[in-house]
């Protein structure tokens, strides 16, 4: 079979600008003028606020026609950048790509959906945005509606849709694309369990019909089911490619060598705190044999947060939240709920946090951290690290791999005959 996609030595460079209060990709004219003016009076106008960042480095691979290939890697490994380049959203800094066939890229479901428009109108709009022709959409209209299960609400503005309906409709349009090559980014995690299965099934059909699929996901299960081959990216470089099982094995091996200590100071903040406290470091506390930030299901989750306090904090709260990989907040708590603190004097502290029974099902999650004082945020990091809950004997016994929801709480069922 001939190649559908041939990628030769592509690299992508981004320029990051450090500004007060985090990183920003765009600049303001005011800043540019101010910088030029300043440079006039300085001898070395070296711009310390600019930093080069290679999101991809010399990546080459080939994908044959009809192949389904998965792309895996940690956050920031360059998966999304690679998909964006293949989708022509952004250009590579170096290298060359040849693509044989029409490409449909699905980096998000429901791109261009407008809340004021009805379901019917949005199907046409979204179809056009994804590169379908009017006639094509018309021909598939009934199929799309049936797949999304929204017949009754076709003429309702989508702002009145539940988020589940919205996602189903959005995915349904995308699922009926006819392009020869399909590029999909982490969009299968939509809707309820039944719908997720339907989506995976549809993807399977697509791949069976001889079309080429490139698929990014954190869901190793989905990757294993769908893809015969996998690419593994590490810090912008193609670390490994080959048969899916082998690549996934290498991925989890490599994850184990990750450092258990994370420097929090350079991470982006959600919003500007009041500066009274700063999160400094996050350490994984483990005595078991698993890798850092990997916890076997059923074992306690433990970590330590180090932070500094520069002004006395009244009614301080230190807390964490855990998000799904798609950004849904699953659990959160602070010291306020367990042991309210009255005051913290300036200094450096370490807070050890133990969650004895998390009930989080095996999968990948994101840990967020925050410090607040008198109910106002002092520092807040949305993505401190990813944590991995690994399947264990217990989770298999409980049959958790058959459950799609992220949390299965310990529940007492009592049956009485009446």
């Amino acid at each position: 079979m001939s190649a559908a996609i041939r990628v030769e030595n592509i690299s992508k460079k981004y320029i990051l600008r450090h500004q007060t209060g985090g990183r920003s990709r765009y600049v303001s004219l005011r800043d540019v003028l101010a910088r030029r003016a300043k440079a006039l009076f300085q001898k070395n106008p070296a711009d310390a606020s600019r930093e080069e960042f290679w999101a991809l480095k010399d990546v080459s691979f080939e994908i044959k026609q009809g192949e389904a290939v998965g792309i895996i890697g940690r956050n920031g490994a360059g998966k999304s950048t690679l998909l964006k380049i293949l989708s022509r959203i952004t250009k590579p800094t170096r290298g060359r790509i040849e693509i044989e066939g029409r490409v449909a890229s699905l980096l998000e479901v429901g791109t261009g959906f407008h809340p004021e428009l009805t379901g019917r109108e949005n199907i046409f709009l979204n179809g056009a945005i994804l590169g379908m022709h009017r006639a094509e959409i018309k021909g598939k209209f009934d199929e799309i509606v049936a797949f999304a299960e929204v017949e009754k609400f076709l003429d309702t503005p989508v702002k009145h849709f539940s988020s589940g309906m919205y996602m189903r409709l959005a995915f349904a349009v995308a699922a009926h694309l006819e392009q020869e090559i399909l590029i999909v980014d982490e969009v299968l995690a939509v809707g309820d369990a039944a719908f997720q299965k339907k989506c995976l099934g549809k993807m399977n059909d697509v791949s069976q019909s001889g079309r080429t699929i490139l698929f990014v996901s954190h869901n190793m299960e989905a990757i294993t089911r769908l893809c015969s081959r996998c690419l593994y990216l590490v810090k912008g470089e193609l670390k490994l490619q080959g048969e899916t099982r082998e690549v996934i094995r290498a991925y989890s091996e490599h994850s184990k060598q990750l450092s258990g200590e994370i420097d929090l100071t350079p991470l982006p903040r959600r919003f500007e705190g009041n500066g009274a406290a700063q999160l400094l470091r996050l350490r994984s506390v483990q005595n078991r044999n698993t890798a850092a930030w990997c916890y076997e299901y059923g074992t306690p989750l433990e970590f330590a947060v180090e932070f500094s306090v520069s002004r006395t904090l009244e009614e301080p709260e230190i807390g964490y939240a855990i998000f799904s990989i798609t950004g849904t907040e699953l659990v959160s708590t602070t010291t306020y709920q367990e042991c309210p603190l009255e005051q913290l004097l300036p200094g450096q502290y370490s807070m050890r946090i133990t969650i004895p029974d998390l009930s989080l099902n095996p999968g990948t999650y994101v840990l967020a951290l925050g410090i607040a004082t008198s109910g106002r945020s002092a520092d807040h990091i949305l993505e401190a690290t990813q944590i991995e809950i690994l399947p264990s004997q217990l989770s298999i016994e409980k049959g958790l791999h058959k459950i799609w929801s992220p949390i299965t709480p310990h529940t007492i069922f009592e049956l009485n005959h009446i």
């Binding site: 765009y26 952004t90 044989e100 980096l107």
Partner: protein, 281 residues
């Protein structure tokens, strides 16, 4: 099967044919904007009429009654209306086009399509507004018994001139807006400033009449058409005013030239920066 080559060093070779392939998206985006525009407000379509009617009323009072500007032999409300409609069209079209990339930022970072479609389709909503508000013009012409002649058929040409002027500026500003996010504050300023630099409430001849003896009067009069809206507004008045009005065609040619330059250089700047939009937006 179609074949695509992406190379870092080379510009997209199929740019213009791609633009043609994506024409349906252009129609759909325009259609979306029009639909949303008339759905969102409860008074919907009425809003497109109320705004110009109020403006024309106020201008008639200000410039006609208070300042007693000369309306070149046609009733003052018609005189003002013929300028207000193209001016409002230009102002909204230009603002919408300039902000269009930012408003559609999410699409830009998730989907490939020729970016030119975004500012181009943003202008179409304003065109729909203009077409609607022509009803006002027709009404005023009937009321004041202004009989148009053959010149009326040239109206689309002057509309096109306004449209391209708005697009030209829109290409520039939308691209600049992506790069320098504080550029959006410049747009209302251009609209406000441009209003006073355009003969909406008075005629270009008024400048000669009032300042013709001085040094500046004739200079301003000569430089005036470098504002492309001068040619458009003069043309609009000429096209609907019937017999009493004459048109200084030189002003139209100058406006046409300026508009062409705006579009050509606007396009060039847009294309030169287009590739980086998704990275910085």
């Amino acid at each position: 099967m179609s074949r695509l080559v992406i190379e870092a060093e080379h510009a997209e070779s199929a740019y213009w044919s791609d633009l043609w392939r994506y024409r349906e998206l252009f129609f759909f985006l325009s259609w979306r904007d029009i639909l949303v525009r008339y759905k969102q407000t409860t008074i919907g379509v009425l809003w497109a009429l109320i705004r110009p009617v109020l403006t024309i009323g106020i201008f008639t009072f200000l410039f006609g009654k208070l300042a007693k500007m000369d309306s070149e032999g046609i009733p003052f409300p018609v005189f003002v209306c013929a300028a207000t409609l193209p001016w409002q069209f230009f102002a909204t079209a230009m603002s919408e086009a300039s902000n269009s990339l930012i408003t559609n930022a999410n699409m830009l970072s998730k989907i490939y399509f020729p970016r030119l479609i975004v500012p181009a389709s943003a202008v179409i909503v304003s065109l729909a507004d203009l077409l609607l508000s022509l009803v006002i013009l027709a009404g005023l012409m009937v009321w004041y018994q202004v009989a148009p002649n053959w010149r009326l058929v040239t109206l689309p040409l002057f509309t096109a001139l306004a449209l391209f002027a708005a697009l030209g500026v829109g290409f520039w500003l939308s691209a600049l807006n992506v790069k320098y996010r504080d550029f959006r504050y410049v747009i209302p300023f251009i609209v406000q400033f441009g209003f006073f630099l355009s003969p909406v409430g008075y005629s270009r001849e008024e400048i000669l009449r009032k300042m013709g003896d001085g040094v500046f009067g004739p200079v301003i009069y000569a430089l005036y058409p470098f504002n492309p809206m001068v040619g458009v507004i003069n043309g609009f008045r000429w096209a609907i005013g019937g017999a009493p009005l004459s048109l200084d065609w030189n002003s139209v040619w100058v406006s046409l030239l300026v508009t062409t330059l705006l579009v050509v250089f606007g396009l060039r700047y847009f294309r030169a920066t287009e590739e980086t939009f998704a990275d910085i937006i």
